[in-house]
Symmetry: C2
Subunit: 194 residues, 2 copies
């Protein structure tokens, strides 16, 4: 498969991503992707075998482009609290505009394809986020910005709260105020008044 094919593969994946954002995972058919890409049925099968494969590759692309949220803010010479707040605000934005992310599709995919212990996209994201938050809290504690006895535990706890908010945003209806309250709660638990 030559240069050109790689380009088209990429185009298909990017277009398919929009479809998954729109419809989740389960509902999407090869036909949907074909139509979105404005190619033929047979053409699509030249590049991909089925929707699961396409989705997996979409997730892969996604994960390669991730982690930027953090690095953006960390490079500044902001305080630990600033960075944490920035991160939480970013998460808030993300989880409230639920119709613009792969969140739901990813959940659906994992429901269908029972927990792959290795190569679990979500687990990787979760674990790496925990680690970064933990580091951040440690820095804050050293600074005297935060009070915290168990940085790892707190980091994990924060991530579970965010997961809870994320899924709740997809099922229950969640208001910005609800998210704000949780953010304030988290900061308070670190001894930071918002």
């Amino acid at each position: 498969m030559g240069e050109k094919s790689a380009q088209k593969r990429r185009y298909i994946l990017e277009t398919a991503r929009k479809v998954f954002v729109e419809k989740g995972f389960k509902k999407v058919t090869m036909k949907d992707i074909v139509e979105a890409c404005e190619i033929s049925r047979g053409g699509l099968y030249l590049y991909f075998d089925n929707t699961s494969q396409i989705f997996m590759e979409v997730m892969k692309l996604e994960s390669e482009e991730a982690d930027d949220v953090f690095s953006d803010s960390i490079t500044e010479d902001a305080t630990a609290a600033d960075i944490l707040v920035l991160f939480l605000q970013e998460q808030k934005k993300e989880l409230l505009r639920k119709k613009d992310t792969l969140t739901q599709a990813v959940y659906e995919y994992y429901f269908e394809n029972q927990p792959p212990k290795k190569d679990n996209f979500l687990k990787k994201q979760f674990d790496s986020a925990v680690k970064i938050i933990e580091k951040l809290i440690e820095i804050g504690v050293d600074n005297g910005e935060f009070y915290c006895e168990d940085c790892a535990g707190t980091a994990r706890n924060i991530m579970f709260v965010l997961e809870g908010l994320k899924i709740s945003a997809q099922t229950i209806t969640i208001t910005p105020e609800t998210v704000d309250r949780e953010i304030i709660y988290i900061l308070k638990s670190l001894g930071v008044e918002a």
Copy 2:
């Protein structure tokens, strides 16, 4: 529809529940339910129109039989901390045996049928659980068992953590130890050493 029909309706719902537990929501077809109930295709359509309707009624039954977890333990003359621990242990059990609950099916259903603001089964459950936990914490604070400045906030926070654990158990693989750590973390935040 006579006495007998009502009985059969009930039988179908209870059998269908097992199918939903087994397969989630989206995957389940009328055929699956027909086979599980050992009745005929046409027969099922006499009672229900489609899988969504069946699932909605299953959830309704489910919600009518809920809330017992709490009432069971609350009637005892246990301390607030005891009751809270019992509740958290119950939740732990529930979320670890993920293959034995409707959790995943409910999520799938809500993904598909976008957030009904009224009659939202999940929201009702969530809100009522928050209220009960809040009361419990207040009692504990009055007792001097707990230390807590914002009972409502803490109750909400606990529920979001549990939601996070619940969805994580379905997607990431979660160990009992992970849940235990969160439980300990929660108790510690109330000033209770486990």
